[in-house]
């Protein structure tokens, strides 16, 4: 089996990148559905009412905001202060 040929194939390379990206998306949706279910869902009813649906949409947005916030602050910390524990005492 020519493993060198398989990994050098540009078509396969692109396929791997595209599928990996799709999987990251899927995984995040699984995770957010899970987390937001805990926050937004009371008793499962015959349909998803608009208040619950809005809660889910907000939840997704805030989850991404949180992730972004954490990354930004971590970057600031490493750039300016040097140690994470310094900022933790704020």
């Amino acid at each position: 089996m020519d493993t060198q040929g398989v990994t050098a194939d540009p078509q396969l390379q692109q396929f791997i990148e595209v599928e990996s990206q799709k999987q990251r998306f899927q995984q995040l949706v699984h995770q957010m559905t899970d987390v937001c279910w805990e926050k937004c869902m009371d008793k499962p009813g015959p349909k998803l009412d608009s208040r619950t649906e809005t809660c889910f949409v907000n939840c997704v947005e805030r989850f991404i905001d949180t992730s972004q916030f954490i990354l930004n602050r971590l970057e600031q910390t490493q750039r300016g202060r040097g140690s994470l524990s310094e900022t933790m005492s704020d």
Partner: protein, 127 residues
């Protein structure tokens, strides 16, 4: 993703062929299976928590009804989250391209191409 490696190699070894098209199809199927398994696992967990109180000798009628509704609501929730996340990604991409176009005068063709490739690269890192 269990089963990912094992099914894969046995198929390829048997035929002696490593046609990229076949590989890609097999991989797609296994990814789809893994996703379905993940969904079912989480759905079962959530619906058990919501619908089953103190476990009895069997699932009574109300528990079964609750579980059935819960499954549908979980799917609704999943689709809502998927749409919301997708919109968010598209919005960030739009914002980035708007920023790029606003910050610069119209560049010549080759420079425009290089800027677009930067957008695509950035998009890839967001996920």
């Amino acid at each position: 993703m269990d089963g990912f490696g094992s099914d894969f190699s046995s198929g390829a070894a048997g035929s002696g062929k490593m046609d990229p098209g076949t590989i890609m199809e097999q991989v797609k199927v296994q990814i789809a299976v893994a996703n379905a398994q993940e969904l079912l696992q989480r759905m079962t967990d959530k619906c058990f928590k919501k619908c089953v109180g103190k476990p009895g000798g069997s699932l009574d009628n109300s528990e079964q009804k609750c579980i059935a509704m819960c499954m549908d609501r979980y799917m609704d929730a999943w689709n809502t989250a998927s749409r919301a996340y997708n919109s968010r990604l598209q919005r960030r991409e739009r914002d980035l391209t708007t920023q790029l176009s606003a910050a610069l005068p119209v560049p010549p063709e080759n420079r425009r191409k290089r800027l677009w490739s930067k957008v695509y690269q950035a998009r890839a890192t967001w996920q």
